[in-house]
């Protein structure tokens, strides 16, 4: 079964807010000067910010903020966030891989930005019964 796609807009302002909330002040997430110096095309989103947005999608699909029992991803491609009002977009989809007898649902999740996968092996297990 495929779950309804969710789209998240990401702007520079979001990265600054996430940096403050998470304490991750690595300048590649806010300074083009530093990002390009280390060979990136420009400022990129924190991998953990992308993972947090995908986690939100998973919790929303589960219908409960406390339903996630396991969640893992591999970061494969940076999410470049331009310095304009539109920023960029991350699209998240998932398929149900397995529903276990003890009330767990395993999801295979796909996250893309500009048509390219930004995560691989993104999997979540949610509790579907209370």
């Amino acid at each position: 079964m495929e779950l309804p796609a969710k789209t998240f807009r990401v702007t520079r302002a979001d990265l600054v807010r996430y940096a403050g909330a998470s304490g991750d002040f690595n300048p590649i997430h806010w300074s083009d000067r530093v990002a390009t110096k280390v060979g990136l095309p420009g400022v990129i989103a924190h991998g953990m910010f992308t993972m947090a947005l995908v986690g939100r999608a998973v919790a929303e699909w589960a219908g409960a903020p406390d339903a996630v029992v396991e969640y893992g991803v591999r970061f494969t491609r940076p999410v470049v966030v331009p310095d304009d009002d539109e920023g960029t977009e991350i699209e998240v989809t998932a398929v149900v891989r397995e529903v276990t007898e003890d009330g767990l649902t395993r999801l295979d999740v796909t996250a893309t930005c500009l048509g390219e996968k930004v995560l691989s092996q993104a999997r979540a297990t949610i509790r579907t019964t209370r």
């Binding site: 304490g23 953990m48 919790a59 591999r74």
Partner: protein, 148 residues
Amino acid sequence: MSLDPSFVGRTYPPTAPYQVGREKIREFATAIGATDPAHHDPAAAQALGHPDVVAPPTFPVLITMAASQQIVEDPALGVDYSRVVHGDQRFAYTRPVVAGDELVCVSTVEDVTTRGGHGFLTTRTDVSTVAGEPVVAVWSKIVVRGEG
């Protein structure tokens, strides 16, 4: 980038307790756009059976990132932090983190490999309350890019 494989299995001393604040959970939830009332309103969290507001699933990284720095910054292991890229991240929860938790991290080096000139370091951080109740296990894999 060659990392010392003899570090596999090494466990580091527990971190000082981290006090999970209600406002920190609200701030983090707001930063990721998580609007579910259970992240913001203690009554909504209590209706789900939690003592206080519930942290979103990736919140524990605030605590574990600092804990695994102990390993990454261990000069004997030889990680050049300027060449580090985040590879994988995984969480396995016993229960969600909630406001009021006092959490302690114990980090272990789970795997060290060198492949194609790059170093790979997997750490596992076990997060538990000061009373010893397990909360979440967190795995993080970093890639230390080789020169050139």
